[in-house]
């Protein structure tokens, strides 16, 4: 019996794109939260951490409302950028980035905070700019935290369900990722197909985490 690989490919694509974007956003955000001193820091930290406690359906629901072309923000995106984020792959990416944000930002932030302050100060007195210090000194020394952030964000995006369902529905080839395919197959009592997706997701997640623990025992410590 031939199974449809498309949901699995879509899941991996979503996880890869999401993780790539999270590196670009999570590193500056983690740096800012680790070293910045500003009044609303607690508010920003809370917002970043919200997806940890919020039911995914709540986040999905508000994103659905916000990005709907019937509302001002969604209409603005649609009119000016031609971007329709509801029931589209791009929408899933945006939702996943928000939803997995703490899993990237927290390890990176604590990685930065655990570095001796003097490393940064030594770099400054030696004439390195903030940017050079970040690229040449700070980031190479928080590699385990970065790796932890990347792996957990990737694995967490694979495991998403609620947000994806609210934002994307289940359009084959566009928004029907593996976790939703499992739900669909079970709904139609197609247990063997459900098992196919479920087992592969299980195996992939297990292998990723095992590889990390095996090769870098320190990597997940910042969590």
């Amino acid at each position: 019996m031939a199974y449809d690989w498309q949901p699995l490919i879509l899941t991996l694509k979503l996880a890869t794109v999401t993780t790539a974007i999270l590196i670009l956003i999570g590193v500056p955000l983690g740096y800012w939260l680790a070293f910045g001193r500003f009044r609303l820091k607690a508010v920003v930290e809370t917002l970043v951490a919200m997806p940890l406690v919020l039911p995914p359906s709540v986040l999905g629901f508000y994103l659905l409302l916000a990005f709907s072309p019937k509302n001002a923000f969604g209409r603005f995106l649609d009119d000016t950028l031609g971007l329709r984020l509801v029931f589209s792959f791009e929408g899933l990416v945006v939702a996943s980035v928000l939803f997995s944000m703490p899993f990237m930002v927290h390890p990176v932030q604590s990685g930065f905070q655990n570095l001796p302050r003097s490393l940064m100060e030594a770099a400054y007195t030696l004439g390195l700019s903030k940017w050079q210090t970040l690229i040449r000194i700070l980031l190479p020394n928080i590699k385990p935290s970065l790796l932890a952030g990347v792996v957990i964000s990737f694995a967490h995006t694979i495991g998403e369900f609620g947000v994806v369902l609210m934002m994307g529905g289940s359009i084959p080839g566009v928004t029907k990722v593996a976790s939703i395919a499992i739900y669909d197959e079970v709904e139609s009592l197609n247990y063997s197909a459900a098992n196919f997706y479920a087992f592969i997701l299980f195996a992939v997640s297990f292998s990723i985490l095992l590889a990390v623990f095996f090769f870098n025992k320190r990597a997940l410590r910042p969590l």
Binding site: S118, E121, A122, Y124, T125, L126, G127, R136, N141
Partner: protein
């Protein structure tokens, strides 16, 4: 060369202290800020390096204003040209010894200056090693070489040798002294080790409670403060033995047990466990060189 006046409010373990310093350093001088920990010595160095901002004051180096509260000038540390040796060395763990020095070069093509510094500090053979694989003394040498790599105008040493054992410390003191003579670099050091201050610096400022209380050459400054013609030790009484009319006291001084004779009069209110002070006139002591390579000659017994 350096003119400094600064005021900064500090929250220390012993309560609030207002650091209030004003001094000048001439080119080529080796000045030490001496005092107990928590009196603001390190903060003073950090203000000069631009890592901490003073509440008030002015820092001018070689005619260039680095900080002036009134004129709102605060040159960032990158542009100040100081070599700062941190207490924990702050070597970059991801870079080899050579790369640690190379990253500090103002001109990345200046490779032979890196070689010169590595040779000067005697760490050429360690150039490919990572900092974590080095001993404390070796790390200290790398930190010093790295601070010099930028060709700073001012060398700032924050308790540079405090984490090292006695012998390594002595050797590095000699090297710091050698480098200072070789490069004539204006140097400011923070220390609470009297021996270190004495050996290295030609000027010392004693800081107490955030204020400079005295300044001068180490010999002048300390001659009427801590150095006297008497030996004076404090120790703990371990045992008291009575022999006829006198007592033999075993006293722990440092990590050594010393036996002395005491009269009954002196022993009146001394018991085992008491802390006592031993004072003796150092009128004509026997001075002997102690060989630093044990095994070749026997040490004189005390």
């Amino acid at each position: 060369m350096l003119e400094l006046s600064l005021r900064k409010h500090l929250h220390t373990a012993e309560g609030n202290v207002t650091l209030n310093l004003e001094f000048e350093v001439e080119t080529g001088q080796f000045l030490t800020l001496f005092g107990r920990s928590g009196v603001g010595k390190t903060t003073c160095l950090r203000c000069i390096a631009g890592l901490t901002e003073p509440d008030h004051g002015r820092i001018v180096v070689g005619g260039e204003v680095w900080f002036d509260r009134n004129r709102r000038i605060n040159v960032p540390p990158q542009k100040r040209g100081v070599g700062f040796v941190f207490q924990d060395y702050a070597l970059f763990p991801n870079l080899s010894v050579r790369e640690n020095l190379h990253i500090a070069l103002a001109d990345p093509k200046d490779e032979h200056y890196v070689d010169e510094l590595l040779n000067l500090m005697g760490i050429k053979e360690l150039e490919r090693r990572l900092p974590a694989t080095l001993s404390g003394g070796q790390q200290q040498r790398v930190a010093l070489a790295r601070a010099l790599a930028r060709r700073p105008r001012l060398l700032l040493l924050d308790e540079p040798l405090s984490a090292l054992d006695g012998e390594t410390r002595l050797r590095l003191q000699n090297e710091i002294l050698g480098i200072h003579r070789h490069l004539h670099m204006t140097t400011l050091m923070v220390s609470h080790d009297l021996g270190e201050v004495y050996r290295l610096s030609n000027q010392v400022i004693v800081i107490e409670g955030g204020q400079a209380v005295v300044r001068g050459r180490p010999a002048e400054v300390f001659s009427n403060r801590r150095i006297s013609g008497k030996f004076q030790f404090t120790g703990e009484v371990l045992a008291i033995d009575r022999n006829d009319v006198v007592f033999t006291l075993s006293i722990l001084i440092g990590n050594r047990v010393v036996q002395v004779i005491a009269t009954a009069q002196e022993m009146q209110d001394i018991q085992v466990g008491d802390t006592v002070m031993l004072v003796s006139k150092a009128f004509n002591p026997i001075v002997m060189k102690v060989d630093r390579n044990p095994g070749r000659t026997s040490r004189p017994s005390s």
